[in-house]
């Protein structure tokens, strides 16, 4: 339903929001506290585990007070308590404290009972200071592991580079040898070639033992490569097709922090996560008709991004000048990336809602992907491994109270993995 068209009123709104923003920033800077003193305290006590803008052992602390009060409704008193004795707060059963504690894999923060209220005010004033460098985008949301297997990749690159270097070296030696010989020939120098000596390769061929060893070596190594090749058939890890609209998860889910389920809303309740229909895009893009200059990168210009939004308008049948729908919609033909074979059954709501697994566990660092690709192999071994390792989330789930009791008696354990609950039965995944 629409009464007024907002973009046409935007000067008013700009003014209004300026007032809002000013009011907001004054709230922020109205903290009593001396950032300079805070800085030295921070460097002395906290810098070991915290940075202002980067996650380390603990979370990034820039604007932590505003962030916590904004997102979690926690006030400064909570921060006093937390900084003086975080484990006390965790033990008291505070929900957010336990959440962040678990998010950081149970790394405990040191207690600082010696810090006075003033000290902490100074510290918070320091964390509330604006960043000096040119305005960088806010820290990425969602604590996804980024260091996943980058080590493996860089190792591979180094090994590959070494191999190529060796090949080049061998080729170089061979060439040098050849030209030298040619020189020698031209100058009429006789190269000493022992008449009685058999050439090396002939000696080699005649030595049967060596031949067998070499043959076995070649057979084994080619079997290794053939096996490797065969077992990656049908595995689409890394598949990254070109989509009809260059839609960037990095900009939406990363920089702007839009929740995955805002768009993939059926992940909560059904087998499929779903690709959002265009009316969901238009919830925002009625108002967002171009990207800001800061969004453009070297690789993708502002014109490129604006053109992509025009494509979205064309597909949704939205006339931006008139601010109304023309009715000539065109479905967007997104290329499907993750796709299990027909004989395997996978259900999102079981994993997302019941088990509480984060999207990033399976889909990788989506909030950093400019173009979406498949992060996990999606092989059976991958599913099974995780079922063996992951505990079932039985808390607050009445369905599990009885079965949990019986099964933990049967296996004699406290925490049940998905496998012990039957997650390895063929029929659960194959129909």
């Amino acid at each position: 339903m629409r009464k007024v068209i907002h973009r046409k009123l935007s000067p008013n709104f700009l003014r209004l929001s300026l007032v809002f923003l000013l009011a907001f920033t004054t709230v922020l800077s109205a903290q009593e506290g001396d950032p300079a003193k805070g800085k030295s305290l921070f460097n002395a006590n906290c810098a070991a585990c915290h940075k202002l803008d980067k996650k380390m052992t603990g979370p990034a602390l820039r604007n932590v007070e505003a962030r916590l009060s904004e997102e979690e409704g926690l006030d400064r008193a909570w921060l006093y308590a937390w900084i003086r004795n975080s484990s006390g707060v965790i033990k008291s059963g505070d929900a957010y404290a336990n959440k962040i504690y678990n998010e950081y894999g149970g790394a405990a923060m040191t207690a600082f009972p010696q810090l006075s209220d003033d000290d902490i005010n100074n510290l918070l004033a320091y964390t509330a200071e604006e960043k000096q460098a040119p305005v960088e985008a806010a820290a990425p949301v969602g604590g996804a592991e980024t260091s996943d297997n980058s080590g493996g990749i860089s190792n591979e690159i180094i090994l590959g580079a070494l191999a190529i270097l060796f090949i080049l070296l061998a080729a170089g030696l061979y060439l040098v040898n050849k030209t030298l010989r040619r020189f020698a020939n031209v100058q009429g120098i006789d190269l000493p070639e022992g008449p009685g000596k058999t050439p090396l390769w002939k000696a080699f061929v005649q030595n049967q033992f060596l031949m067998i060893v070499v043959a076995i070596f070649f057979l084994l190594s080619s079997a290794y490569f053939v096996y490797g090749y065969l077992s990656q058939i049908g595995v689409d890890q890394g598949y990254q097709p070109v989509q009809p609209i260059h839609y960037s998860h990095k900009i939406h889910a990363g920089d702007n922090g839009i929740d995955c389920k805002y768009c993939h809303s059926s992940a909560r309740v059904s087998k499929h996560s779903g690709i959002p229909s265009l009316n969901v895009c238009m919830n925002c893009h009625k108002s967002i008709y171009e990207v800001s200059p800061e969004t453009a990168t070297e690789e993708y210009s502002k014109e490129f991004y604006d053109g992509e939004i025009k494509k979205l308008y064309a597909a949704a049948g939205w006339d931006d000048a008139e601010q109304k729908y023309t009715g000539e919609a065109q479905p967007v033909k997104w290329v499907r990336i993750h796709n299990l074979p027909d004989f395997a059954y996978f259900n999102h709501s079981q994993h997302v809602t019941v088990a509480g697994v984060e999207c990033q566990t399976c889909h990788g660092p989506v909030e950093e992907m400019e173009v979406m690709y498949q992060h996990a192999p999606l092989t059976m071994g991958w599913c099974i491994n995780c079922h063996r390792e992951t505990d079932v989330n039985v808390k607050d789930n009445a369905y599990y109270t009885k079965i949990h009791e019986e099964l933990s008696k049967k296996y004699g354990v406290e925490n049940l993995t998905a496998a012990q609950m039957g997650g390895l039965e063929c029929g659960k995944c194959h129909y």
Binding site: M1, S17, E70, I164, I167, Q237, Y239, C284
Partner: protein, 183 residues
């Protein structure tokens, strides 16, 4: 020279194999076991418009559906504001679930506290988001439900992302945020 070419070819093959991000899917072993004979979700299908995702036949309703008679207009909005009330009683209202849903769908614009300072507003992507305690709007359960169902001006409809019960949970949570803001 010949061996040099061979070496180069080998090197090229090595490099191209080691870059595994590809724009084409991999080969499949026995594709007839992988590709469904039935229609796949979001796949192509032999319908007039060529897609599997069809709009339900006209007049069909999901189980447990309760019709919403109030229409999508200013008059409808006023009617909802005056007459509509929350069917969930206090035992069914679950503010934790309301918060969860609110943070997913609304917080990005309205802010998790409902003060109109969501992330998109702070980054100046979308402007003009009201705070729930805006006295001029004086929102109530009926008007919030109508706004979620049909949208209002620049705000779109959230009827397809939230089912009826979830919409009322969000309404209850918005009213709580409003009460907190007015404190």
């Amino acid at each position: 020279m010949k061996s040099l070419i061979k070496i180069l070819v080998l090197a090229v093959v090595l490099v191209s194999v080691s870059c595994n991000k590809s724009t084409a899917p991999n080969y499949q072993f026995m594709p007839n076991m992988y590709e469904s004979a039935g229609y796949e979700t979001y796949g192509e299908a032999a319908f007039p418009n060529g897609v599997e995702a069809q709009i339900p036949a006209e007049g069909s309703i999901p189980r447990g559906f309760v019709p919403f008679d109030i229409e999508n207009s200013t008059a409808g909005y006023d009617l909802a504001k005056a007459t509509l009330s929350n069917p969930l009683d206090s035992t069914k209202v679950d503010l934790n679930r309301g918060k969860e849903l609110y943070d997913i769908y609304c917080g990005i614009c309205h802010g998790n506290k409902g003060n109109g300072q969501g992330n998109l507003v702070k980054r100046e992507k979308i402007l003009g988001i009201p705070s729930y305690d805006d006295a001029g709007r004086a929102i109530n359960a009926g008007s919030i439900y109508h706004t979620i169902y049909y949208g209002k001006n620049a705000m779109g409809s959230y009827a397809n992302q939230l089912n009826e019960e979830e919409r009322w949970q969000v309404v209850s949570y918005v009213l709580k945020l409003k009460a907190d803001l007015e404190k």
